[in-house]
Amino acid sequence: MANLPPESSPVFPEAAPRRRGFLTQAAAIIVGGLAGLIPLASSVIFFLDPIIKRRNSAGGSDGFLRAANVSALPTNGTPERFVLKADIHDAWTLYRNRVLGSVYLRLMPNGQVIAFNDTCTHLGCKVDYQAANKRFFCPCHHSAFDLDGKKQNQTPPRDMDDLKVEIRDGEVFVKYQNFRTATPEKKALAQ
């Protein structure tokens, strides 16, 4: 543009009625907008796929996974961590018998087994068991829970998340679920 004096540019020779100018302008915006918007909108919807399509990623038919043999649990009620394995769909890949997560199991005096998800309800770190203090303790922000999973300080928003347990032929099966962190109420996440 430098080779043309700027004064010469805003020449509107078609001193046409304003309406025609307006129509052209409106049409240009609509047509151009449409051309740009269609690919953009399709792409954005594609991007939002995770909240549009719900997919099941793992778990047996009833969601219960084998965790351990009852005989593997300490008889004095000390919690012990066990991994859970399942066939996992990670996007396109089907992983056979892969570690899904881990849980604490406790054998109670009455023979029952209780299970906690070992994910901290605060912000999702893995909670340790401190044998010396007989408590669960999260290394990230020092959440502490007693052996029954009750919170012992104000860091975690709620107690540890307990999981449904069934004992089938001496094997402990746990319905493994993850829950939203950082909220007072226990809300299961879609698997």
């Binding site: 543009m1 430098a2 020449v11 020779p13 740009g36 690919p39 954005v44 396109w92 056979r96």
Partner: protein
């Protein structure tokens, strides 16, 4: 709103910029012919948008590239559409690029003072070509894999530094993870960045010189970019988008089977490179080496194109450039048309494409049904009877047998046709003419089905006719006892009154295979067939001898044989044409239970056919997949 704009303008000067952009003077006013540049920019923007979002779903490695594209295409919301837009907008970009280039030459827009901008445009053209080449590989499917191999091998034919160039491009001496990571980085990172940079320069220099105005527009009043030219440009862009959407919605972007270095593929480059592909095929060119046809000649033409601004200084030079442009375009069009014509009339090529399509459909079906294993989707096909059966048939059976007239994979088996003097004959394009190689054993298309059994009983001659090409031992079958039995009983079996009997006998025999892919068997018919098999009594008349007179058979679950047959060399029919029968038969057709001393077929023992291969072949033949 206005206050906000003023605030922003005070700090950025955006109003002046907008004014500058929108009020570009257009001598002679807005014209449709000025829209191609904007259309190209639009194509790039569409590619940038769809590409960035596709990036969110793509995983470049040899075990995840195909798989992630499969997931985008078949599982994710609008994935097929977004990929389709990206796929077809790339092609639209090539078309518009050609148009833009043509216009620049034809209208003389490459001449002084616009030479530099012309060269910037040529750089942009190269960038778009690299984008197209690199993008073709990313799905890591058979088509992209083999077509790109050709491209990198061409790069490897560069004199002196070819090997290095090829290895740098591939990330090593062979294709692998790093080929994909590199191509992806080029495709989604480096090239788009370069394109944006050069496009900025291109537009900047373009604005400096203004539009190239045709003579007809001289003397007419000056218009501005906004709003009329913007509207024209927008309409052009919308037309491009409409075309892209039409294709994206009516034909999904192709995803062939996962790349497999062990399986061939009738690879062709994307249609806009077909001319180069065909050019390299000319004997005149190919005999001078790959570098000549793929690097020197295109390089020389490119050099000439680069020099066009100098050539075009005179009126005559400009006419020369125009002529060259037309010659090039006609040449490209002719070569493209020739390739399409030749491929279209190449039966073998078409059959290969069809077979490849069969794989592509199958692997998607398996991925949905079974899930993709950790090692990638290629494994699904490798252990699939439906995919491997035809290949095994082709390798092991088709030298004698046929499958529906072909080799199992859809290829007819041909040999060179010779003229009277014994020379190979050629057609008008110089391609050799071929003719069918006669089979020497039966066509096994519907082997083991009701139709097959009926045909063996009532028309043995035709079913086994190819044996006449198998020499004296083959002829022995056609003159043998079973053939004789069929001749003796032809009339009675063809008798309309016995139609139900024949049907029952066929039902009984077919049921022995225990196949589940056929129509369910009629128990009543099977029972009637069993009596005929053993006793030979039809509805009207008798068979000259019953089946059990020659053939041994034991029914599944029975302890006693239905018949013991006539001894070695009379094939046992226990479980006839079922998987176990077929496996035993293929392993040792010369066993006393089968053809004995009469056998002319090869033993497919484990040295020829592994257990896994045998199972795949037999499962395919019995429809169990």
């Amino acid at each position: 709103m206005k206050a906000l704009l003023d605030w922003l303008d005070h700090r950025t000067g955006c109003k002046a910029l907008m004014h500058e952009v929108m009020n570009e003077p257009i001598p002679g006013g807005a014209r449709w012919r000025y829209i191609t540049g904007s259309m190209l920019t639009f194509c790039f923007v569409v590619q940038a948008i769809t590409g960035l979002f596709l990036w969110c779903g793509y995983a470049p490695s040899t075990q995840t590239a195909w798989e992630s594209v499969f997931y985008i295409q078949h599982e994710m919301t609008l994935g097929g559409l977004v990929r389709g837009i990206h796929h077809f907008a790339a092609q639209a970009m090539m078309v518009v690029l050609g148009l833009h280039f043509f216009q620049v030459i034809w209208d003389g827009a490459y001449r002084a003072p616009r030479e530099v901008n012309y060269w910037l445009g040529l750089v942009l053209m190269q960038i778009v070509i690299v984008l197209s080449l690199t993008g073709y590989l990313l799905p890591w499917d058979q088509k992209g894999y083999y077509a790109t191999k050709v491209a990198t091998n061409i790069a490897g034919s560069t004199p002196f530094i070819g090997e290095q160039i090829q290895q740098i491009a591939q990330g090593g001496p062979a294709y692998g993870h790093h080929t994909l990571t590199r191509f992806f980085a080029l495709h989604a990172g480096l090239m788009p960045a370069l394109l944006v940079g050069f496009l900025g320069l291109h537009i900047y220099v373009f604005r400096r010189h203004g539009i190239t105005v045709p003579e007809s527009a001289e003397g007419k009043p000056v218009g501005t970019f906004w709003p009329k030219q913007v509207l024209y440009d927008a309409v052009g862009c919308l037309i491009v988008l409409a075309g892209v959407l039409y294709f994206a919605l009516t034909r999904p972007a192709e995803l062939t089977a996962p790349a497999d270095p062990g399986e061939d593929f009738p690879a062709r480059p994307e249609w806009y490179f077909l001319f180069l592909f065909r050019f390299l095929e000319f004997e005149l060119i190919s005999k001078r080496g790959v570098a000549f046809g793929a690097i020197y000649v295109p390089g020389a033409i490119m050099a000439l194109i680069v020099l066009m601004p100098f050539i075009g200084r005179s009126k005559l030079g400009h006419q020369f450039n125009r002529l060259m442009l037309v010659v090039l375009l006609v040449g490209v069009a002719a070569l493209t048309a020739l390739t399409i014509y030749e491929d279209g009339h190449n039966e073998s090529h078409q059959a290969k494409l069809k077979f490849a399509e069969r794989d592509a459909h199958r692997v998607v079906e398996l991925a949905h049904r079974e899930g993709i294993p950790q090692n990638g989707a290629r494994e699904l096909l490798v252990r699939d009877a439906f995919a491997q059966g035809p290949r095994l048939f082709k390798r092991h059976c088709a030298s004698c047998h046929r499958f529906d007239g072909h080799d199992g994979t859809g290829q007819r088996i041909l040999k060179a046709k010779l003229d009277a003097d014994g020379n190979a004959m050629k057609d008008w394009l110089g391609h050799p003419i071929s003719e069918e190689e006669p089979a020497t054993a039966a066509d096994l298309k519907d082997f083991g089905s009701r139709e097959w059994v009926k045909r063996v009983l009532t028309d043995y001659e035709t079913t086994f006719a190819p044996l006449k090409n198998a020499g004296e031992k083959g002829q022995r079958f056609l003159d043998g006892e079973m053939a004789g039995w069929c001749k003796e009983n032809k009339a009675v079996l063809a008798d309309a009154a016995n139609a139900d009997s024949v049907k029952a006998l066929a039902e009984f025999l077919t049921a022995q295979g225990g196949r589940t892919d056929l129509e369910p068997f009629d128990e009543q018919l099977v029972a009637i067939g069993k009596d005929i098999f053993k006793g030979g009594a039809l509805k009207t008349g008798m068979l000259t001898s019953s089946c059990t007179d020659c053939h041994a058979m034991k029914l599944a679950g029975d302890t006693e044989s239905l018949g013991d047959g006539a001894g070695p060399g009379y094939p046992t029919l226990t479980g006839y044409a079922g998987q176990n029968w077929l496996m035993s038969f293929l392993r040792a057709p010369g066993h006393a239970d089968f053809y004995g001393d009469n056998n002319i077929m090869l033993d497919f023992d484990t040295s020829r056919l592994s257990d896994e291969e045998l199972i795949l072949l037999v499962k395919w033949m019995t429809g169990d997949y």
